[in-house]
């Protein structure tokens, strides 16, 4: 990466973050709700991207972890406990369950983790629906309070959006650090070549479980934001289709790319809203758009960018080679 490219990237980052802060200021209630939802879903998709994109394990249970986080937040905050307490419970719970659920993945080949997590996802939904004493069953939990952050109430949509955006920022920084740490490198080694990773002395068992557990814990974080966002939760949003949606977000955005989940969540949350003018057709068009995108670029949106940059780099390199060659020829 050249120095110029680096500054360009930093400038672009500042513009995007500035836009995310300033532009929504005069959005209406619904627009802010959708943007907050985007931030929450991005966090969940980032967790899945760690599991899938970096460590190469397919999980179909991310939606269930969002559900566990959301129920932890809803149950605890309606009892008067602070959201931060719910957050710690959700993270610990999701991490532990993710860890246990990862064990079958160690025993068998990778697509079986998808099957186990699929079963877990549906089991979790059944528990949300049937355990009335804890989750109030199909009636759901209403009047979930929004938190006070450092003395500021976030009851109104705009402050709560900033709260979600801030959480997304913190999670992004932590993730940025994680994938550059030795752990992150170990995760990538795991995806690229598990046998070689093992022979290099990486404890593949522990790292597989770790990637899955951390990814699941981020699902829990997203859930603790989701509950105060909607202020009412019932089991329906946390069925299998949420897990499938999250998986779609990661793949469509570009799995294994840091910014993949951001774009993927944008497509999954915002594109249907933009297509709403087509009325009944919007989800259909969304499905067709996803299929066309995947046919065109199976590595997702960032895959297109990646290919374009790689092609340009090769072109530049070959041009450079041609110049050097002609110079050498004239010199001789």
């Amino acid at each position: 990466m050249t120095v110029k490219g680096k500054y360009l990237r930093i400038a672009l980052g500042i513009v995007v973050i500035g836009a995310l802060i300033i532009v929504p200021m005069n959005f209406n209630r619904y627009g802010l709700y959708i943007l907050s939802q985007w931030a929450v879903m991005t966090i969940a998709a980032m967790g899945l991207n760690l599991t899938l994109g970096y460590a190469g394990q397919v999980s179909l249970a991310q939606g269930a972890f969002v559900g566990i986080g959301a129920y932890a937040a809803a149950i605890m905050t309606t009892q008067g406990m602070p959201l931060i307490a719910a957050l710690s419970v959700a993270v610990v719970l999701c991490f532990a369950i993710g860890w246990i659920l990862g064990y079958p993945a160690l025993r068998v080949q990778h697509h079986y983790l998808a099957f186990v997590t699929l079963a877990f996802s549906t089991l979790a939904f059944l528990v949300f629906r049937n355990e009335d004493w804890l989750t109030k069953g199909i009636y759901g939990i209403s009047n979930i309070p929004r938190p006070n952050v450092m003395g500021f109430a976030t009851n109104r949509p705009l402050p709560f959006y900033y709260f979600c955006l801030g959480s997304l920022g913190i999670v992004s920084l932590a993730m940025w650090w994680l994938i550059r740490s030795p752990w992150g490198r170990a995760f990538i080694a795991l995806r690229e070549n598990p046998v070689r990773a093992l022979s290099l002395g990486i404890d593949t068992r522990r790292y597989t479980l770790m990637a899955f557990a951390i990814g699941s814990a981020l699902g829990g974080v997203a859930g603790t934001l989701y509950a105060p966002l909607t202020q009412y939760i019932d089991p329906v949003p946390f069925n299998l289709s949420l897990s499938l949606d999250l998986l779609m977000m990661v793949i469509v955005g570009g799995s294994g790319f840091f910014f993949g989940p951001f774009l993927g969540a944008m497509i999954a949350v915002l594109l249907p809203e933009w297509l709403r003018f087509t009325q009944g057709y919007y989800l259909m068009l969304y499905a067709v758009a996803v299929m066309l995108l995947l046919i065109y670029s199976p590595t997702g949106i960032l895959g297109i960018l990646d290919r374009y940059l790689a092609a340009r780099r090769t072109k530049a390199a070959s041009a450079l080679r041609a110049v050097t060659k002609s110079k050498l020829e004239t010199a001789s």
């Binding site: 079958p104 025993r107 080949q109 059944l126 009944g280 199976p298």
Partner: protein
């Protein structure tokens, strides 16, 4: 005891339908590594095609024939040419995600162009009960069971007794070698897609009279077939058949004896236990595609 017999018959009947769907599912996996998350919607659609034809004035028998032909065209040929072929070489996962999107698209299309309400669907087996050995058994259950068994036997015979069947199996087991010894691999893969389309159309015809035609009915069915395929053995046709029957029976027994609330959990727990202790499925071979 008498109750148990009824449950078994009803369970075997739904199980036989699951088996049809699961067999198609495993066939696609074997010949072209396609995990079809839209398989449930594939079962949902043919019933609506037939209903649409009947609304257009076609008699029931004609609607069935045309509906099956349309399914072969759309869910067999169209699915393979438009979605699977362009994506296959990029690996299992993007294609699996694309079939998820396809499932959403199909559900929404039916909801938009047909109806969001459940529609009744005529049964090809006359309603009523007959008594066997002094027991009253629903004619519909028996008819469904008989038809599904006939199809499964026919399919097994096709796969194991005919030259085309052997070529298909060769394609599934090792496409490269199959190509070398002169098997038209491409045509065999297309054939499995057509067989899958035929099986789902048939399953649609059998199950829709029982559960009504609804745009969302594929979700439960697809998952049941998926679980059946894994429990029975992902890489074996007879595994999928056994898995389908087992899930059907277990599901019905669980509804009666465990609790209606957690009936859906029983097959899932079975799935997890199977994966932990016998990951290749009850009748499957261990997978050799390791690295």
């Amino acid at each position: 005891m008498s109750n148990l017999l009824d449950l078994l018959v009803a369970g075997l009947a739904t199980g036989a339908i699951y088996a049809l769907v699961a067999v198609g599912f495993t066939l696609l996996w074997q010949t072209s590594q396609t995990i079809n998350f839209a398989q449930g919607e594939f079962v949902m659609l043919p019933a609506f095609l037939m209903l649409a034809l009947m609304h257009a004035g076609a008699p029931f028998w004609l609607a069935i024939i045309l509906g099956i032909l349309l399914s072969l065209l759309l869910l067999g040929l169209g699915f393979k040419l438009l979605l699977v072929d362009p994506m296959l070489r990029h690996g299992v996962l993007p294609l699996a995600i694309a079939t998820m999107a396809l499932a959403i698209g199909m559900k929404e299309a039916v909801k938009q162009f047909f109806s969001a309400e459940a529609s009744p669907f005529p049964s090809i087996v006359p309603a009523g009960d007959i008594s066997i050995l002094g027991r009253v058994v629903s004619l519909q259950s028996l008819g469904v069971l008989a038809l599904a068994i006939a199809v499964v036997i026919g399919l097994t015979a096709l796969l194991n007794r005919t030259s085309i069947g052997h070529q298909m199996q060769a394609t599934a087991q090792n496409p490269t070698v199959a190509r070398i010894i002169g098997v038209p691999v491409e045509r065999m893969i297309l054939l499995t897609f057509l067989i899958n389309a035929f099986l789902v159309a048939l399953a649609s015809l059998l199950i829709t009279p029982i559960y009504l035609a609804k745009f969302s009915s594929g979700e439960v069915l697809g998952q049941a077939a998926f679980i059946a395929a894994i429990v029975g053995g992902f890489n074996q046709v007879r595994g999928a058949i056994a898995g389908g029957l087992l899930i059907g029976v277990v599901d019905n027994l669980a509804a009666a004896y465990v609790s209606t609330q957690y009936r859906a959990a029983v097959p899932l727990v079975l799935l997890i236990v199977i994966i932990l202790f016998r990951p290749q499925g009850l009748l499957g071979r261990p997978e050799e595609r390791t690295v």
